[in-house]
């Protein structure tokens, strides 16, 4: 081997190793670098959930991209509901998250607890100046006020109204329930014609059963928390509500298989004229493809003590501290709230608006179900925080957690008594709620 070939040999080997190391370092450096701010080409990153049809996200994207304020632009990203908390958490942890986003109902409070949320007080001030503040429906803004400021700004209300199928009530020859005793009696008669008197479900991925449990508690003047936010599962009103639900189960008014029903199963029951009455989401007729007028919103039930209450999830838009410009985030949020009207004008939303002016739009008010929900449900609606009013991070654990789901399934199987089930529920919650 001559000198030249030896040098060439060494060079090629070292050169190759060097190149390999450099190539290996590229993804490492890329992975380590992350994003230092929520900028997309220097603009505001807005993350949004699939709140309605795909057309909703297309329109929301157009609205977002129409923003040009505070020397900034905005980009739009749809985030799927599957594992959404993980998506947000990992993005925020790696500083690649959004500057502004919609999301889970209690997400803002979870991230506030972890020091990631930029409070929206300046946005509220701007809304006061432009007149939108006075346009909010009564009571929708207060739940978002913490001792540090506004954690987020509501933009739509995810109400849980009671629905009924008129033809089944006509067939059974019974009136639409107005209180608990009439619900039980109607349920028995509906059962005799093969219909379900109180449709619900708590199968894989279905939260409707969980929401029903809480709704019945607050409908009876109870709730999971006291007015000052302390856990209060075992109160008499809750016991009474759960005893009534167990009575519905034992009488077959609630479907014995409801414990395993997914939302698809529940949709099928409503679509196939099996479900006669039950708590469900807004836009049920459109959801199951029956806009014949047979599916109608019932008035809220009166509890045995005369209480009336409905369950609502005020969905909100939050701002994060990781932003290229807080001023731009605030300007974007004010701008976006000002554009919401068109989403309801184009009938892209399956939720109640938070602004009075939108509830008065002909496109919204032409649906009698919408009008009834705004008129009868919104004024008495309470959140998961009931009997308290302020939202907090613990509600996310209550809403999606194992304790409530196990409690619901225990009730729907009917193999328990109210006090035992509520005691287990309270114990389960105590072990996971942050003090």
């Amino acid at each position: 081997m001559n000198v030249k070939s030896e040098a060439s040999h060494n060079f090629s080997r070292r050169g190759f190793l060097g190149l390999t190391a450099a190539a290996a370092a590229v993804p490492l450096l890329a992975a380590c670098g992350g994003g230092s701010s929520s900028s997309s080409a220097g603009g505001i990153k807005f993350w949004d959930m699939p709140w309605g049809t795909p057309a909703y996200n297309d329109d929301a994207k157009k609205i977002t991209e129409g923003f040009s304020g505070a020397n900034s632009k905005a980009s739009y990203q749809t985030i799927q509901w599957n594992n959404f908390y993980q998506t947000f958490s990992s993005a925020i942890a790696s500083k690649t998250g959004p500057a502004v986003s919609t999301g889970g109902g209690f997400q803002a409070f979870q991230f506030e607890q972890q020091g990631q949320i930029a409070h929206a007080d300046k946005v509220i001030d701007a809304l006061k100046k432009n007149g939108q503040f006075d346009d909010f429906l009564p009571g929708v803004l207060e739940p978002f006020k913490s001792d540090k400021g506004y954690v987020a700004v509501p933009w739509q209300l995810d109400m849980r109204p009671l629905w009924y199928r008129k033809s089944l009530f006509d067939q059974a020859g019974v009136g639409v329930p107005t209180d608990w005793p009439s619900l039980l009696e109607a349920g028995k008669k509906l059962k005799s014609i093969g219909a379900v008197g109180f449709a619900t479900g708590s199968g894989a991925g279905n939260n409707i059963g969980n929401h029903l449990m809480i709704m019945m508690m607050i409908n009876n003047g109870g709730g999971v928390f006291t007015k000052d936010g302390q856990l209060d599962v075992m109160n008499d009103r809750n016991v009474e509500a759960i005893e009534f639900l167990l009575e519905l189960v034992s009488n077959g008014v609630i479907d014995p298989a409801a414990v395993s029903y997914t939302t698809d199963n529940l949709d099928a029951q409503w679509k196939n004229k099996k479900a006669a009455f039950g708590m469900y989401v807004l836009g049920l007729p459109q959801r199951v493809g029956d806009t014949s007028g047979d599916l109608l919103v019932a008035s809220p039930l009166a509890g045995p003590h005369g209480d009336k209450a409905a369950l609502v999830f005020p969905n909100n838009i939050m701002m994060y501290k990781n932003t290229p410009s807080q001023e731009a985030s605030e300007a974007f949020l004010v701008y976006y709230l000002g554009q919401l009207k068109q989403l309801w004008q184009q009938k892209l939303m399956n939720a109640l608006p938070v602004f009075k002016s939108i509830t008065e739009l002909p496109e919204f008010a032409s649906d009698p179900n919408n009008v009834k929900i705004v008129k009868e449900y919104q004024p008495i609606a309470k959140t998961f925080a009931a009997q308290g009013s302020s939202l907090n991070a613990n509600l996310a654990v209550l809403d999606g957690g194992q304790a409530l789901n196990q409690f619901t399934q225990t009730i729907l199987t009917g193999k328990t008594d109210a006090k035992s089930a509520l005691t287990a529920f309270q114990t389960g919650l105590q072990s996971v709620l942050k003090k």
């Binding site: 390999t20 708590s202 894989a204 395993s260 029903y261 729907l412 199987t413 996971v432």
Partner: protein
Amino acid sequence: MSSTTAQSGLARARRGLAPGGPGGGSLDHPGNVNRKSKLSSQTRRTFFWLLLPSIVLLILINGYPLIYAGVQATHDGSLIDTGNFVGVDNFATVLSSPAFWKAAQFTLWFTIVGVFGSWLVGLGLALLLRTKIPAGGTFKVLLLLPWVVPIVVSSTAWNWLVATPDSLIPSIFRNLGLGTPLFLADPHLAAVMVMVFKVWVSFPFMMMMISAALASVDTTVYEAASMDGASKWQQFTQITLPMIARSTYISWILMTIFCVNDFPTIYLLTGGGPVDATTSLVVLAYRSVFQDFQTGTGVAIAFLMTLTLVLVSVFLYRQIRKSSVE
């Protein structure tokens, strides 16, 4: 050939060497030993430097999450914030939780039924397909469908088959006068249903593993056994099973890992319910982290699962080695 020569020849044959050895026995030449070790040393060094980037990447890719998971398991934080160090508190909480032991019990049954149920069905079908049946190839493809179809699709289909009293299977039971079983609403039936679903999803994998193993079995062995008067059962237990033992153990290891780590089969069909009747350890870990936001306890469950899987795998791997020796 003398006896010594014959033994030497067999030994060489086992090593895969020709009578003269490679290169006419040059490797055995004393003068080549130093060169060999020198070459090996250089080669090893080159290999080491060539492999180093990949090794570093592998350590980072696999090691970092493992170390981070270890950190999370010993802290009380969230997905964003690590929180405070709590030592082994999370493990103590998990091990003293009735929910953990209930999930462990279900995972054990789910794994036993999943592994042996799918193995038995797969073995039966592999043996059946080995015989000359018309359109055997078509059947093979059709039988692979449960494995090929995305689990989201098959779980939805199964849900529609059994979920409500008006679904197909409960309707058949009702028409036969056997009542209306609530397959997903009754805790015991739901557990059975999830296991049956797992067997249905997994048997094609077992069938393929066993089919491949059976293909390597020489059919003349069976002819010889037959001539010696061995019954079909004896042929199956004394020839077929031992000959496919290695593949069987490998498939058991893999299926054990698949079953213990199986999230979608359970979660999509029952969500772990009703009343936790079908909650496995992996479902419990998921719920702890993403529904109760108890990251530490969720990761602790995952660690315990991993430890168990490693022990089971080591045991089964030893069985493979034993079967190879035999």
